[in-house]
Amino acid sequence: MNGVLHELSVHPLKTLLEVLREDLRLTGTKESCGLGNCGACTVLVDGKPILSCLTLMAEVQDRDILTVEGLVQGDKLHPIQEAFVEHGAIQCGFCTAGFIMAGKALLDKNPNPSEDEVRKAIDGHMCRCTGYGKIVEAILAVPSKR
């Protein structure tokens, strides 16, 4: 979990989301719909974005998990987090962690994506506040920040 090995004894049918928030107290990842429709619970498992609300603990044994808390380096924000702040891509912030993890997964695979590629990568994420425009801008701004 974010580079640290954890040994936990939990029911295999606990979801990764439950364990992140309740057992590990990593509350950056949110539950919004709980049913795989909104993307707010997205984290990276072995570098791939997945929905933690539909991921069983049984499925993530010995896997590498990255949550939004894992992006910060000391007190320095990750470039994608900075971009979200600079571009006004955060209003209530509830969807933000999910979008950021999806954005990071995209940029790790495709460091200079087109707008279409960004929109496709965030297709599974819902934002009630921003209208998505500034989120897309923020992700597109990351390559020039590095």
Partner: protein
């Protein structure tokens, strides 16, 4: 926090073990692949929770994609939609399949959902069904009493119903080698990016000198199961391609469709999307 009922989770390490567990527990157990369908139903309490979940993720051979020039393509039932999109052999030999997989849900769902899970859900709108039907796929079903191979056309028996017997699991999807000058196209209309298809169509055809040697037209979300528009296929098969023929075939597909909801709209859409998919498949076959 929306939680799952805490049922017992079994972890077989081989297909034989999985089949034997399924056979022992019968209706008290449910097999789980990606979980994007089953876990949602369990969370929403839309079903009596099973007493056991049989997880298939620890059986490595179920996630293989293999191809050889005689036997064709063999896709393990646990291959994820993402793996279908990213497979270079599928991109090279069966691009319509990778194309259909890329329209599925969103990247997160594609990383979790599996082709076997999509087919076994037997949703009329399942996005992997039309391309696999149009490619002439068969599915391998394993049970405690043995293995059988069923043409995909015979696998679906009704909305969310398939021929799997108690104790049987799908292990593999087999797609035959395609003839030269064959190409396919997949078209889907959906309300939102993550959405279920309103109508989806896949066409695979073989073209030689503007004559269509073979064609399969498969559709979803417009009948009780994914289906092939065989009357439409007959109109084009063996003939020289013309706009009139494409019109006639699209009309035949529309007339044969049996949508349950908004029938007038869906039937119209079937005609439009069939025409689009046939035209696209033709232009790709000409380029091949």
């Amino acid at each position: 926090m929306l939680r799952l009922p805490k049922v017992e989770y079994l972890v077989p390490k081989s297909v034989e073990e999985a089949c034997s567990l399924s056979d022992v527990h019968k209706e008290k157990a449910k097999v789980i692949a990606g979980g994007t369908d089953l876990l949602v139903m369990m969370k929403r309490r839309l079903m009596e929770p099973p007493q056991y979940l049989i997880g298939l993720k620890n059986i490595p051979e179920l996630s293989d994609i293999r191809y050889d020039e005689k036997e064709g393509l063999k896709i393990g039932a646990l291959v994820t939609l993402s793996s279908l999109c990213e497979s270079s052999i599928i991109g090279e030999k069966y691009p319509v399949l990778g194309e259909a997989a890329s329209y599925f849900g969103a990247v997160e769902v594609r990383n979790m959902g599996t082709v076997g899970g999509n087919l076994c859900s037997a949703a009329p709108s399942a996005d992997t069904a039309p391309p696999l039907l149009a490619l002439g796929a068969k599915v391998k079903l394993a049970g405690a009493s043995g293995v059988r191979t069923v043409p995909l056309e015979e696998f679906f028996t009704g909305p969310f119903e398939n021929v799997l017997r108690v104790g049987e699991i799908m292990t593999e999807i087999q797609v035959p080698v395609q003839r030269p000058h064959t190409a396919g196209a997949f078209v889907k209309v959906t309300r939102t990016g993550m959405g279920l298809a309103v109508v989806n169509v896949a066409v695979v055809l073989t073209l030689e000198e503007r004559t269509c040697k073979e064609i399969k037209i498969a559709l979803g979300a417009c009948a009780p199961t994914p289906w092939r528009a065989k009357k439409a296929e007959e109109i084009i098969r063996g003939k020289k391609i013309s706009d009139r023929l494409i019109e006639q075939a699209s009309l035949a597909a529309s007339e044969a469709s049996r949508p349950r909801s908004v029938p007038a709209y869906k039937k119209e859409l079937v005609g439009v999307l069939s025409k689009r998919a046939i035209r696209e498949a033709i232009s790709r076959a000409e380029a091949v």
